[in-house]
Every structure is written in C-alpha cells, then in structure tokens.
Symmetry: C2
Subunit: 269 residues, 2 copies
DNA sequence: CGACGTGTTGATCTCTCTCAATTAGAGTGG
DNA sequence: CCACTCTAATTGAGAGAGATCAACACGTCG
C-alpha cells in the first residue's frame, strides 16, 4: 500500500548475488524497484526481472534542473526514470524552446535515437531525480531475450507517442485556457497514479510557469495571466510546489477532454 | 533500379502457395511488395517475409478522402500503408481538427491503440490508397516469432514519434512562415525518398491548404496568405497537385531545420 | 545586502483569426 | 453546350488572443 516500502517478498535491501549483476553496486536491485509496488505497473516474471537486471548498467542521480541528455548529444545511453520528474525538449537555433513531454517515474528515455545517432531532443530534470542506465544494446537484447518485454516496449513507445499527440492537439488547436486546463489535468492524473498516498490534497508540482509555457507553446507572461485567471475562478491552485485541482469538473469541461484523460496502465518495470 | 519493377529474383506475379496464405487473394504477396524495391527499406530475410505474409490478412483499397479509421472506433486492425498518402488526426468536440502526422507508403498505422481500446485518432486518405491489413494480434506475433522484426517495430514507432516531436516544435514555437517552410521541406524529402524517379521536377502533393492548416495549427486563410507569400518570394511552388521547392536553401534557413530534415532510412517492410 | 530566479501586472503591439466576397475548376444534369 | 453546384484557392478588412516590453514584489542565497 505504501510506496515507501518497496520490497515485496524478501529482505528489503539484501540483494542476492544475481548471476548477472554487473556494474551496479550501491544501486537498488530491480527486484526491489519501488515502482513494482505500484498498481500501475504490470508485474513481470522473475525471469524478466533478472533479464532487466542483467542489462542495467548503473544508476545516475541528478539534482533538479540538471541535464540528463543534451540536445544533439551522440551515443546517449538508454534510461528509465526511477524517481522524480524530468522533461524532453527541443530548441530552435535562436533559443525558442518547446517541451515535448514531461517524464514521470517509470518512463523510458532515449528509445527515439537510433544507436550512434545524435539525440533528437534534450532531457532535463525538474526535481532531484534518479535514473537507471542501460547500455544502448539493451533495447535489442530485451527484444531478443524476451519478446514479451520487447512487445511491452513497443507499447510503451506507442503510448508515449499518443501523449505527444495529445499535446500537439492542445498546442495546435486549443486556446491558452484550454491548454492549461488540459495540461494540469493530465499531469495531475499521471502524478496521482504514482503516489498511492494520493487523496484530495493535491500532488507535488515542480514545474515553473516557464515550463508550462514551453510545454504549451505560450509566452511566459500569457501563461501567468491565464493561470491566475483559472485560479481566481476557483478551478485550481498552485502553491508551495503543490497543485490542487479544486474543480475538476469545470476544468475537464474547459479542456474538452474525452472521458477523463486516462492514464492507461503501463506494463513493464 | 526502376521501382515499377517490383520483383527481385523470380517470376513477378506467380505467387507460390505459401503454407500460410490465408485470406489474401487478389492481393500482392509480401515478397512482391513494391516497397521492397526501394533503397529506403532494409531487406528482410525470406523467413521474415514469410512471417509477415502469414500475418497479413488482406488488403484494403480506399479512394481519396475516405476514412480508414474513425476517431474513437474500437478494435481497428493494424495497417500498413502500401501505396498513397493518408493522415492521422484528432478533433475537439466543437470540430477543431489537428492533423498529427502525414502517412506515406511504408508507414504503420494503429500501433498506438491497445487491443480492445478505442482509437485515439482517426485516419483518412489523401489520395487513393492501398493498405495491408493485419490482425490485431499480429503485433504480438511478430515480436514473438521474430525479435528482430519486433525490434524494428519499436524503432519505427519511436521514429514516428520523433516526427510528431518535430511537428510539435513547429506548432509550438515556429511562426506561420517557418511552420510552412518546415512542413514543405519535410514532406518533400519523405516523398522524394519514395519515388526513385525523383529529380528536380517536384513531387506529387495531394494536400489541400486546409490539410496544411490543420497540420500546422493555423487557420485556412492565414495558411493561404503565407503560402502565397513564400511562393511569390520564389521559395516554392504548388501547382497541379505537385510541389516544387525552388529555393531549398532559403526554405531550410527559414525553417531553421537542423542539417536537412533527414528522412532517416527505415527498416522493415 | 545585492544578485537571481520566479511570479505578477499593466500597457502596447502584432501575428493570426474570423468574417465576407470573389474567382476558378471539376462535375452533373438538362 | 450551358446553367448549376461544390470544392479549393484568393484577397481585403476588422477583431482579438497572445506576444513583447517594462516594472515591481518576494524569497533564497552567497
């Protein structure tokens, strides 16, 4: 129930010498991955866990606001976001920046670029964050050794695309108010799904208004004004780094979200 | 050399009774797939071809402007665009439409929605088109029976996402002129890569200005005015359903495209 | 305490949208 | 062969959402 208690069946931190453990030392073993405890994730078999474990190289921790991958960087490894928030972005040569998507625990990073290729987008943290690092070949190995996991990755990748699709719809066709409503709801749902201790008391919300602006194709000033407008109207509230949706109904109507902006259950660790 | 001669080694239309041929009759066999002839695609082994062939259910032909998948439709099968142009789109309840991406021969359709799920976007043809239809399970079967093909699909899916990323950057941060320049270049490159008989005489270009507008988050009127402006400036020309890039250099500079908007070589049939 | 990063607000400015009208082509039916 | 209809492309004019420019308030931090 409580996500702070990661282990499921055996001793929490006592990692057995898995045949395949290579370069990960102070790191948490996959079997103790905190994400496993969440109902959001499909439970992989022990075999699959061992496979993932064997492909994992190490962990990497970054403070808030640091770069995980620089735009144009070559040979970036494959990552999994274990903990914290981050975002993918692209910039034009004159500095205009577009955030492509926000990344939460469990998200994959770097499937996009083909090996040897330059990263098509940068990745930066929003909070202190923790990543699992995989060798570039891991993607292929995973497919080769476990078609099931490979299939899951395809599905995850497709799901990730559908989120970008949603953003594109927003940025292309929604007004500033609608975009913001839509973003807040979607992020709220995703974040809430990750914190079992959820409830009506909001979620931790590390974005600055600049991030919201860059994620929605708006200017900072206009984002601020729109945000204030919605807040004064009682739809939501952001304070002390937390986001509260005060009137989800109105917010959803404004965003014109189908159903509820479902955070589809995700397979894989 | 000439794409109009699809077969590679044996008799063109004489299809041997592959053990797995199920419901495809007047259809072209995978081994004779015209796409195979293009340098753009990686040559799959005979075994892989047979596998794809065995999963293929039938073909479907649509005239220009018809719907392949309706938004919200459930249980849509998996498709491959064999011939022609199409596009994926989403609409808001009041009718505003955003085209998410344009589809050309070789593109996959429908990997996004999980089985049983409602399609997150619609797909419509721009020209008369031809699709290969696969059973929904094909995706899994492909992964199971050929990790290599599975891997390719993941890569294709990721590549497709990176194209949406590019569009999002455009729509979110580029001016109308820049968006149009960027779209024209990208489509030109993709289409040119598919017609070996390319050359400087442009490409067949089936989009109406409304499609361009919906693909770039612009209004029809403003799209028209911007298009005319670029045309008068000698950057490009669209006439009789063909697009000519008269000044690629200036166009690319305007679009602020890195390198040249590379149409990365794609694996798989 | 000054430098910064982030959030606010007011005052223009302008790019893009909306409304309206017209032209040109492709079909259709008489 | 011609009126009639429809779709796509054009252009002009006015309106407006959102951008840009400028200040200022606050809290954190070296």
């Amino acid at each position: 129930m409580d996500a702070s208690t990661p282990a499921t069946d055996d001793a929490p931190e006592q990692v057995p010498a898995a045949a395949s453990r290579a370069a990960n030392d102070g790191d948490t073993a996959c079997r103790n991955c905190p994400l496993r405890a969440l109902p959001l994730f499909i439970e992989p078999s022990g075999e699959e866990l061992a496979l993932v474990q064997s492909l994992k190289r190490r962990e990497r921790r970054l403070a808030a606001g640091e770069a995980l991958i620089h735009e144009g960087q070559t040979d970036a490894p494959l990552y999994t976001l274990l903990q914290g928030w981050a975002f993918r972005y692209k910039t034009l040569s004159d500095g205009r920046r577009q955030i492509l998507s926000f990344l939460l625990a469990g998200d994959f990073i770097g499937v996009q670029q083909k090996m040897g290729d330059a990263a098509a987008h940068g990745v930066e943290t929003l909070t202190d964050a923790q990543f699992c690092v995989f060798h570039r070949d891991a993607l292929w190995e995973l497919h080769r050794q476990s078609p099931m996991m490979g299939f899951n990755i395809t599905w995850l990748t497709a799901h990730e695309e559908s989120m970008v699709d949603d953003t594109l719809l927003s940025v292309g066709r929604r007004s500033a108010e609608e975009r913001i409503a839509s973003l807040l709801i979607l992020l709220f749902k995703r974040a809430a799904a990750l914190q079992p201790d959820a409830g009506a008391d909001g979620i931790a919300f590390p974005l600055t208004q600049q991030h919201i602006a860059d994620g929605l194709g708006l200017s900072l000033v206009h984002t601020n004004k729109t945000l204030r407008k919605l807040e004064r109207r009682g739809l939501h509230q952001i304070s002390n780094g937390r986001l509260y949706l005060r009137d989800l109904k109105s917010m959803a109507r404004l965003a014109d979200l189908y159903g509820d902006g479902r955070p589809a259950p995700r397979p894989l660790v």
